[in-house]
Symmetry: C2
Subunit: 643 residues, 2 copies
Amino acid sequence: MGSKIRSYVFLTSTECIVLVCMTCLFLNVNCQTENAGMSNVISERKAEEDHRQDSADLLIFIMLLTLTILTIWLFKHRRFRFLHETGLAMIYGVLVGVILRFGVHGQQDLNNVTLSCAMNSSPATILVNVSGHFYEYTLKGEVKDSDGEDVPDAEMLKKVTFDPEIFFNILLPPIIFYAGYSLKRRHFFRNLGSILSYAFVGTAISCMVIGAVLYGCVAFMKAVGQIQGDFFFTDCLFFGAIISATDPVTVLAIFNELKVDVDLYALLFGESVLNDAVAIVLSSSIVAYQPAGDNSHTFDGSAMLKSIGVFLVVFSGSFSLGVVTGVMTSLVTKFTKLRDFPLLETALFFLMSWSTFLLAEACGFTGVVAVLFCGMTQAHYTYNNLSAESKDRTKQLFELLNFLAENFIFSYMGLTLFTFQYHVFNPLFILGAFIAVFVGRAANIYPLSFLLNLGRKNKIGSNFQHVMMFSGLRGAMAFALAIRDTATYARRMMFSSTLLIVFFTVWLCGGGTTPMLSFMHIRVGVDSDQDNTAAGVDGGERRGVRHEGAWPFRMWHSFDHKYLKPFLTHSGPPLTTTLPACCGPLARCLTTSQAYQGGGDVHDEDSELIGSEGASSPMYTDISTVSQSSSFNNLHGPTVPSG
Amino acid sequence: MGSKIRSYVFLTSTECIVLVCMTCLFLNVNCQTENAGMSNVISERKAEEDHRQDSADLLIFIMLLTLTILTIWLFKHRRFRFLHETGLAMIYGVLVGVILRFGVHGQQDLNNVTLSCAMNSSPATILVNVSGHFYEYTLKGEVKDSDGEDVPDAEMLKKVTFDPEIFFNILLPPIIFYAGYSLKRRHFFRNLGSILSYAFVGTAISCMVIGAVLYGCVAFMKAVGQIQGDFFFTDCLFFGAIISATDPVTVLAIFNELKVDVDLYALLFGESVLNDAVAIVLSSSIVAYQPAGDNSHTFDGSAMLKSIGVFLVVFSGSFSLGVVTGVMTSLVTKFTKLRDFPLLETALFFLMSWSTFLLAEACGFTGVVAVLFCGMTQAHYTYNNLSAESKDRTKQLFELLNFLAENFIFSYMGLTLFTFQYHVFNPLFILGAFIAVFVGRAANIYPLSFLLNLGRKNKIGSNFQHVMMFSGLRGAMAFALAIRDTATYARRMMFSSTLLIVFFTVWLCGGGTTPMLSFMHIRVGVDSDQDNTAAGVDGGERRGVRHEGAWPFRMWHSFDHKYLKPFLTHSGPPLTTTLPACCGPLARCLTTSQAYQGGGDVHDEDSELIGSEGASSPMYTDISTVSQSSSFNNLHGPTVPSG
């Protein structure tokens, strides 16, 4: 007893020391940032200074993430579960944002020189002739803040503001890929119809409803003179599109931990994964065919049709690209003996998955969407061909990338609350946005659930619907879409409102998930492998799940099992048994020896359960059930037992 | 028999198909690149176009790497060992470079506009007033190619030329960190004196000798009118510094595979790891105190002293930073129970290691050097505190990063041979450089070995010396240093020569390692754990290695074992037994329960063998000994047994 107390106290003091040290180091870095900013900038040393400044800025984020990790560990260690790591990352971000905003004063960059010249357009590159030497300058952008408003410490704050495209090109892809790669595919496919309805129809409804409510709000604001500048209906629709992307992170981490009903989990996770894709394509198609000029306050019919056309082309193009690269990877891993060299295999897997993104971007499709479907294909097919070590390696690699990217985004979100220079906090608009989001979510979930229940055998209970309504958190995707363009007054107002909505939903809805679940009498502690017997509220009707589902699902499952799996992987029945006799030689050619040996469903089953437990946020898994013992180590699936 | 042949043939055809497909896809991407370049550039869409172009360019490299991986696998599969993967990556790079150079014709970017203005300096930012709108332009650099030379397709070729700083900020750090993290520390510390001599004294000698030989060569060239522009002695010294960094990759992969004598391995690996650090600091200190202006053809004494001062400050600063962050990580991992959550632990490890780099860069030290020593500290201390899963995860993560970065650099090297626009291939200079490199290497190895042998108990045999002479490959670091500055005529000539030296040494010396070893009668197939008994040529004197070595090594080992290890890790004897009695309370505070339980040397020994087998290029390990069986999977140390 005494020893326990001592170790408790000791640990706490160590923890404190560690946290305090990190904080000091962090502040130190900050001060240094300041000094670097204060030092005399000589023209030749500018690049070096910039580089040092960039390093210091990035260091701020690394320190933030390190702090977050340590605090997460502390929370987990103490079983404190009301604040998810992403919420925590945001809080730290906000704190640092406050420090940067009010504590650090950099100097203005007075080296700007204004040249006047008579050009019709702004070229991408200009050459400046300085007494015989030619210097090349590249276009950075139009200077937006031309209304003479004096922004203090603009240079310093601008420094910690990244190019928004970094989110789309570096941070989102691993998150989305991991979502696809770790999807519980069995439950996903079983609820495919409902998930597709929520993700496509639901998001479209949500987008429209939010747009309409907001347009009303804006009209009212214009009437009372509360708004300046242009604000078109397309802007409202755009806001509807970006804010309709729900983020599963916080809720699903808790669901995983509490082992909530698998169908509810599948519905929420599937919806949020797919509606990210829908939102991104939807918003870009709205932007692409946004009528230019001031005369068009409405979104006319032909533009609408064009938007839908763009949406379909981009979505299906991205989808196909993702699937094609996934299939190619599975073929390469099937027909080469690359599995003898896990490092090569993992590298290939990583490169092929990355190339999906680049290929889609190079073709003008949406990389993030392609990556999502690539991840699903990789998990469904390629994963079966990988060696045991590569299975672990790929899972762990993308888990780490996902973790880092996610926490980075949420820290950054916190930071922007104070460091972003062009915030437009309009109370009326923010209120309108909150109402619109609430109404939009309701208009998505309840009517669709009613319609879906007409066709579903295991109904989506009203308590499920309330939880889905409540769990419509907004997160990384909404933020990334909102920050992408903050050029106009309307967009800035949207960005600020999005930020607040994300904060509000992540902290409040995220923290309230556990009480909500118990309030709604959702059964927890359900083992996902036992779901055939009885689980959830309408469990009675659930027997024989495999043969349940709508006919498209059954057809797909049978086709996949008989032809695709055997063709693309070593698992499933050999093609020689499933293909008609006339295709004999071809079938023999495409069937590897493993397929004959391994045969049947064993492998297959295994593959469908990839990342089944520890999937979306494995760190929480089992904490509630494993309890006080020290056996936390093996949370991450079948790896080496520690110690 | 028949089935074996069939499967053989089948595999070959599959392989062919895969390779052909990849090539087609690759060419396809290329064509697309071209189209993207040809399309009409509208000013507003420029950013989007650029992004697509960037994606396509990056895709070229990803495809190149994928191709390389598949071919490497083929080579390994067929036991073809004369060409290392890096050599292969270079060949593919050269091929693609040829295609880009002669096959693809992009259009010139005609959007450049020249403004003339009377300024004394070139400001970092200028604002251009284009009919009322202000556009911000940032300084890209002085336009160097003012001699009117018309370079065809400059735009297209410029596109695939990355900012050289990418090498220093993204690609080199993981390579160097991994080198430090996977160092065989036992053998390294045993040979520390010799390694430090080769790395510091040897590299300095090599730098001087190369500089001197080359200066003679340049003087001759100036006399015969073969050279235009300035070429100072400092330039020659600079070339000496950049070309003195040897690259262990190819040779050590083969050494690992053949299980060459561990001391020879340690000498070569240790030297090449440390001389990277030395070269980078040496070259930057030469540049920092290079006398400006035309009148100083010699490198005067005070500048020399200043250079040495800069060298010492930067090197020791980087060293301390690396060690300090490593120690901090080990303290954090020791005193928190972070090991319960491998994901958090791995993330923390990764972030702390990265922060070393950023911290060093932000302080004006050299990030790459800091990262090297951080890696060594992490391996020596932190590694002991990690959970078994995190040990695997960190090793695998950095192994993958190292693999990707290395192959990327070598592909890129191949590519630059044809796509770099400012090559200056001067036959006389190249000949001089080759001779200088040869002489410099000889002046490093032979005299130093002679001196070291005076003090060493186990002498460095003459066959060892010849192998060390022969294994002085130049690689990634020399290239990265050379491409960093290609502004002047002299630097361009150096860059082109460096490229050729790298190609020559990697292909010829890399490929010739196996014949060289057998020609020199170096014993192969030595198990590194049995080296106490007998190995190599002068094996007779090697008994009791642990207690051998110079007194600084023995003192360090004892201090490390008694105080540092117990303080920073869970291993080693508890501090309560090693510290004097007066420090009892402090010692109890700093000793965790694991230290009492685990105690002694077991853990410690384990930690010193981290990555011992599969370290520098684990994929080759055991191939020669494991032979034909299918048990290739477990090459990568203690991970999950596959299947």
